[in-house]
């Protein structure tokens, strides 16, 4: 096995865990605060190992997310692919950002993902009418430092890239 593929299981595992966290039952009052786990993990890997995780992986994760959440097939896929593309474009700058600035960038990316989702839902007439729809962007921003440290340690230990 070449060094290119070393640690691929860590990436896969983190993406699967993100899907599990998306599904995990929470009290109804807390559900609207659920961070966009899949987007967070995809953004991290796009910033950290852009030569391995890109728009293709993001798109496949989006399709799985569509199946899980019962949305239109392709809705999350489109949003995540666009988010991954922007993350790829910005990965050099973003690596130099201080953490709080990175978190802010993540929030903007997730707001963008949600806007694309809202756009599709609006076209088919199922747009949520509550401002709480935007809360996950905020919680994702607050969680970014923890996701970042956790995945960075995993990457340093297992993923042979840098």
């Amino acid at each position: 096995m070449s060094a290119r593929y070393a640690g691929g299981w860590v990436i896969t595992l983190s993406l699967v865990s993100a899907l599990l966290l998306t599904l995990f039952p929470m009290p109804a009052a807390a559900q609207v605060y659920r961070p966009e786990w899949v987007a967070l993990v995809v953004i991290y890997w796009c910033l950290a190992v852009p030569e391995r995780v890109g728009v293709g992986v993001a798109w496949v994760m989006g399709i799985l997310l569509d199946v899980i959440s019962g949305s239109l097939l392709g809705q999350h896929a489109l949003a995540l692919a666009v988010v991954a593309y922007i993350a790829l474009k910005l990965h050099r700058q973003a690596r130099l950002f201080p953490l709080w600035q990175q978190a802010f960038m993540v929030m903007l990316l997730i707001i963008m993902e949600q806007m694309l989702n809202l756009w599709v839902q609006g076209i088919i007439g199922q747009a949520p009418r509550s401002w709480k729809y935007w809360l996950p962007a905020l919680t994702s921003m607050l969680l970014w430092p923890w996701v970042f440290f956790l995945l960075r340690d995993l990457r340093r230990r297992y993923v042979a890239s840098e």
Binding site: L23, A28, G54, V55, G70, L73, A77, Y85, P128, R129
Partner: protein, 344 residues
């Protein structure tokens, strides 16, 4: 998933470039095509079913974790709690059995009366028990995941009940699981009628678990707080006369052309764990004890059918046409040559 640069072993200098942009454009177009096909043409049922099989392990793991924590809590609960619960359930069982006795008598009576009317309104319904998988879906759309799929005979559009009323209907079916939309989803509307007087209406979801909207009720309509809404069976999806909701508010605002009516669902929408799926089967040919004169069906009594049918305007006509026929007063008299059933 393939990485952007399949055969290169050095770390590439430029990870974005024409290849990535092109890939994004292709994937965006692919998503748009997928969404259009899914939404407009509804051709992706099979694809969705296959993918639901792929994510089944995820669903299963999450559900298992939730189940284990629930089970731990249960096995640690004290003996007294269990005894209390047991007594409560015993009482409830007795009560229900008593009611069931009365129900059995009523059902026999109903059947006899229908036989007398020679009506064919006998919808055979079979109930299938399904359990909710404890996974969270989109919080802004009221959908649930069930542990029964096409393997168990679940079909798209099947109604879903709990012990107290209608919950929703099946939306997507996979081999092992299926997704159902609840009646409180903002995109769901359900044809209902008021049990007291047969007034027809629609029950539209609001996005909140304990509220349904009843739009287009005229201001002088006979609607009272406390009225029970039952399914009317008019949409063809839901079998008639299952309880749906109870009206809790009727407001007449002078500026609006309709009354504002809202209701509380009868089903425990966010609490039920076991649900019933109604499998409606076409009525089998009548092999029951039909009286001999039933052979000469529908003696055409020269009467006005609309006048004979009580409440033709408000009560929904039963799906089977012969019901609108006036009941034969005395089947033995005037057995005219048979005419076709539906006149109207």
């Amino acid at each position: 998933m393939n990485s952007p640069f399949p055969q290169r072993h050095m770390k590439p200098l430029f990870v974005y470039g024409p290849a990535t942009s092109l890939r994004l454009v292709i994937l965006c177009v692919a998503s748009l095509i997928l969404m259009t096909v899914d939404h407009r043409l509804h051709l992706l049922g099979e694809v969705r079913a296959g993918l639901s099989l792929a994510v089944y392990p995820l669903h299963y793991m999450v559900d298992l974790a939730a189940r284990v924590s629930h089970w731990t809590g249960e096995s640690l609960s004290s003996r007294n709690t269990l005894l209390d619960q047991n007594t409560g359930l015993r009482e409830q069982n007795l009560l229900l059995k008593g009611q069931l006795q009365k129900f059995a008598a009523l059902e026999t009576e109903n059947k006899r009366l229908r036989d007398l009317l020679q009506s064919s309104l006998q919808i055979h319904e079979r109930l299938l028990v399904a359990e909710l998988l404890q996974v969270d879906m989109d919080p802004f759309r009221h959908q649930i995941l069930l542990n029964k799929g096409s393997r168990d005979g679940v079909k798209t559009g099947q109604p879903l009940l709990d012990a107290d009323g209608v919950m929703g209907q099946v939306l997507h079916v996979g081999p092992l699981t299926s997704t159902a939309v609840l009646i409180t989803d903002p995109s769901h509307a359900l044809p209902v009628q008021i049990n007291r007087n047969g007034l027809r209406a629609l029950a539209v979801g609001t996005g909140s678990f304990n509220r349904l909207d009843i739009p287009y009720i005229s201001k002088n309509a006979d609607v009272l707080v406390g009225d029970l809404l039952v399914t009317s069976g008019l949409g063809g999806r839901f079998p008639p006369s299952y309880p749906v909701a109870t009206i809790v508010a009727v407001e007449n605002q002078p500026g609006l052309s309709f009354a504002r009516v809202s209701a509380v669902p009868a089903a425990h929408i966010e609490r039920s764990r076991e649900v019933l799926l109604v499998v409606t089967e076409p009525a089998p040919p009548k092999v029951t004890a039909a009286p001999p004169p039933a052979v000469s069906t529908a003696p055409s009594v020269p009467a006005t059918p609309a006048a004979a049918a009580p409440r033709g305007a408000t009560a929904p006509p039963a799906p089977a046409a012969p019901v609108t026929q006036p009941p034969p007063v005395a089947p033995e008299i005037s057995p005219l040559p048979e005419t076709e059933g539906p006149i109207e």
